[in-house]
């Protein structure tokens, strides 16, 4: 079945942005990701769903080498971004993470001002030549994070002083400030109220016209609303990967069906 929502926003043919080939992840002896092959399209929102502990966050972290920072974590197989191996020795993980931005499950603002939280990335990557440019980027990013109106009068206040939901939107603003090509979001809305959730979902849909977005979510409705492709993980395996419309109306694997319909599986 074709996903009819694709016609809503005009998007040219989708190329493969990220390709995973026989990806394995181990935490010591724990084999957390097993032989995952996946092709993630450009200009598409891909949702990762699955029960707690199935490896969604682990796999997501492989895509910008966040697992490098975890003690005892080993990644095998191949992952390419635009056909280039991201685990190649020549690749600088910091540069990679500017291209492949991430929003984490728990909001993690820097202990700095709201302004500096957002300005940090653009500064180190030289995206603004003067203060006025930087101001523009900060405002635009905070607007995209659906938090501008709440913080515009206190940009110098510490980011850590915001509410949990506001902190998360600040982190989204920070992630989009460097104009990444791929945005990885790990349960970005778990601390947000329905209005902020809708705003973030609208942002995700807007980002999709230019970027590839991968979102981990425990909300089936959110996956159904925002994504065009859905990947279902179970015990470290990628069980089913298909058009979102197809996954939610006619899943092929009984494990997928049990999970999305809320059955005892």
């Amino acid at each position: 079945m074709n996903d009819m929502r694709i016609v809503e926003r005009d998007v040219e043919t989708r190329e493969i942005k990220i390709r995973g080939d026989k990806v394995q992840v181990f935490y010591g002896d724990n084999h957390a990701i097993k032989d995952v092959d996946i092709e993630i399209q450009d200009k598409t929102v891909t949702a990762f769903i699955g029960p707690s502990g199935c490896g969604k966050s682990t796999f997501l972290r492989c895509l910008n080498r966040m697992n490098d920072t975890i003690e005892g974590c080993r990644v095998e197989g191949e992952i390419t971004l635009d056909e280039e191996d991201i685990y190649n020795k020549q690749v600088d993980p910091v540069q990679l993470r500017a291209k492949v931005g991430m929003v984490f499950q728990k909001p993690n603002p820097f202990p700095k001002s709201i302004y500096d939280n957002v300005a940090y990335g653009p500064r180190i990557h030289g995206l603004a030549s003067n203060k006025a440019d930087l101001d523009v980027i900060v405002e635009k990013s905070l607007r995209r994070g659906a938090i501008w109106d709440e913080v515009k009068d206190r940009l110098d206040a510490p980011g850590t002083g915001l509410s949990g939901g506001q902190q998360q939107r600040l982190c989204i603003a920070r992630a989009v400030a460097t104009e990444p090509e791929v945005l990885l979001m790990d349960e970005p809305c778990s601390a947000l109220d329905p209005i902020a959730t809708a705003q973030v979902e609208e942002l995700i849909d807007e980002l999709r016209t230019n970027y590839s977005v991968v979102i981990v979510t425990h909300s089936m409705q959110q996956a159904a609303r925002v994504s065009q492709k859905t990947a279902f993980f179970h015990l470290g395996n990628l069980v089913e990967y298909n058009e979102t419309g197809e996954i939610f109306t006619n899943p092929k694997d009984p494990r997928t069906e049990s999970y999305i319909t809320g059955r005892i599986g």
């Binding site: 089936m220 409705q221 939610f248 109306t249 006619n250 999305i260 319909t261 809320g262 059955r263 005892i264």
Partner: protein, 237 residues
């Protein structure tokens, strides 16, 4: 059937709406049989009862649709649950239409009992109605059992109903040509036969819903269309 939901109230909601649909199906089956019997036995009271009972079928349809809408709003069903709710809504619509046709049969019966009977026709019509009622029974059983093969069988049997209709059509045409005094009665009988043929189409649609429910795909091959008899009197072009 499939595994239970973690939230058992969800299962109860789904069971309730399907139980109401099946109850509605039972009323419709009875309406078909009673309408056909009232014609054969020239029982005006029974015909009147079929007409009155249609209200109940309409009310059941409203109720089933309200329950289905509520389920969509509150439980956001997906996959097989979504297909269940969608098919419940479509089948209730098909059943309501079959009920309407039975009611129309009963109305015409109320007229026909005051006219000279046309020999053999009422029992032919009863046989045709009985086939459709059996198809409906099997379609509803297929629904309950999630039996795609039985649904497929029902779908194919619709062809026999079409053939019965074509035979009756020719028979009525002959009567009318033989004796113009038969025209009014034969026209009523013809509309009754046509109604039953349309019931068969709705029952076929129910069977197709069962196939969609079970497989996730609508059957795509068009049913074989045979005889063109009913179109022979229509102008070309």
């Amino acid at each position: 059937m499939s595994k239970p939901h973690i939230t058992s109230a969800y299962d109860r909601d789904l069971e309730a709406v399907q139980a109401h649909l099946m109850k509605m199906g039972g009323l419709v089956e009875a309406a078909i049989i009673d309408a056909a019997n009232s014609l054969e036995t020239r029982d005006e009271d029974l015909a009147e009862q079929v007409r009155r009972n249609d209200r109940q079928i309409d009310e059941m349809e409203t109720r089933v649709n309200e329950e289905a809408a509520r389920l969509i709003a509150l439980r956001a069903p997906t996959a097989v649950d979504l297909r269940t709710v969608l098919t419940v809504m479509k089948i209730s619509n098909n059943l309501e239409r079959v009920g309407d046709y039975a009611k129309n049969m009963a109305k015409r019966t109320s007229v026909l009992v005051h006219m000279t009977p046309i020999e053999g026709s009422a029992s032919d019509i009863r046989r045709m109605a009985k086939s459709v009622e059996l198809m409906l029974k099997d379609a509803l059983d297929a629904y309950i059992q999630r039996d795609g093969a039985l649904a497929e069988d029902v779908r194919l049997r619709d062809r026999e109903v079409d053939q019965m209709y074509n035979a009756l059509f020719r028979q009525f045409l002959t009567y009318m040509m033989e004796d113009p005094r038969h025209i009014t009665g034969c026209m009523h009988l013809h509309f009754i036969a046509k109604n039953i043929e349309r019931m068969g189409d709705h029952v076929t649609s129910i069977a197709e819903q069962v196939i969609y429910l079970v497989t996730g795909e609508m059957p795509d091959d068009a049913r074989p269309k045979g005889d063109k008899t009913p179109y022979m009197a229509e102008p070309r072009g």
